[in-house]
Subunit: 90 residues, 4 copies
Amino acid sequence: MQDNQEVIRRLKTTEGHIRGVQRMVEDGAYCIDVIQQIQAVQAALNKISADILDRHLNSCLITAVRGDDPAERERVLKEISEVFATSSKI
Amino acid sequence: MQDNQEVIRRLKTTEGHIRGVQRMVEDGAYCIDVIQQIQAVQAALNKISADILDRHLNSCLITAVRGDDPAERERVLKEISEVFATSSKI
Amino acid sequence: MQDNQEVIRRLKTTEGHIRGVQRMVEDGAYCIDVIQQIQAVQAALNKISADILDRHLNSCLITAVRGDDPAERERVLKEISEVFATSSKI
Amino acid sequence: MQDNQEVIRRLKTTEGHIRGVQRMVEDGAYCIDVIQQIQAVQAALNKISADILDRHLNSCLITAVRGDDPAERERVLKEISEVFATSSKI
């Protein structure tokens, strides 16, 4: 699926970014520069998460809310509440 | 509505908490103690937001997703994506 | 002290903002609008915390680091680490 | 340096974790499971950042604050304020 390829591509970029941070630490880079690069990785991961949630809302959520299984619907809505609550805590 | 009363009660508690922080600053409290109290207010606001979103998912969202208006459904899903994206940034 | 007055003024603004959010809930405002206002309050509190920490670094921290008491210095540095660690979690 | 080895080891673990998330996406894993793994990576990065800052406070900061160069001291304190302000925003 097209969208999955795009998510994988961005995760690979993030992986490369983290390898770059490792090299910075190996080379004795200045602590604050290392922290700023880690913060950049986190900002990129935030965007990836937000895009995955967006897709989820427009697919699984719609299916569950329109479906006939109230337990399934409740489960899907509860999961979204939980990832929102966690996102405020990290 | 019962739930609204509970949200208002918790917002009032938060308001009182912020007034308490003002008094701390007036009394020349130690900076770190002030910051920790502000962080406690933030944690409380996170929980209030998460609970309001939870209610929203279980009411407006269900109505919009089951409704016949695709523009309305899109709008509601987009809003949820946006509050999630913002929640990672504050 | 001048700076304290400014912090108190901004906390009062935040307190008024939270009272406004209570009125929104009382008036049955749309959930997403309420959440966005709470997020605005949190962004304001983040800035207030950051400014208080900035003052702290430029006063108490300097005194502690230059002082003769290693336990005091350790305590002050540990506190700063802790508020930083907490700030990532809320 | 011992501490650097430990930071590099934890960054390598994070890198492996992100590779695992890529495989999950390739295998068509459930969106919410993917988001939760990304959130776990972010929590790990938060801890690594906090530990690097802690080391920084106990080395560079002490040197700068005790040193004779007011511009250098100001720079170091400002950097810490900035990473704190950014940490509240991601």
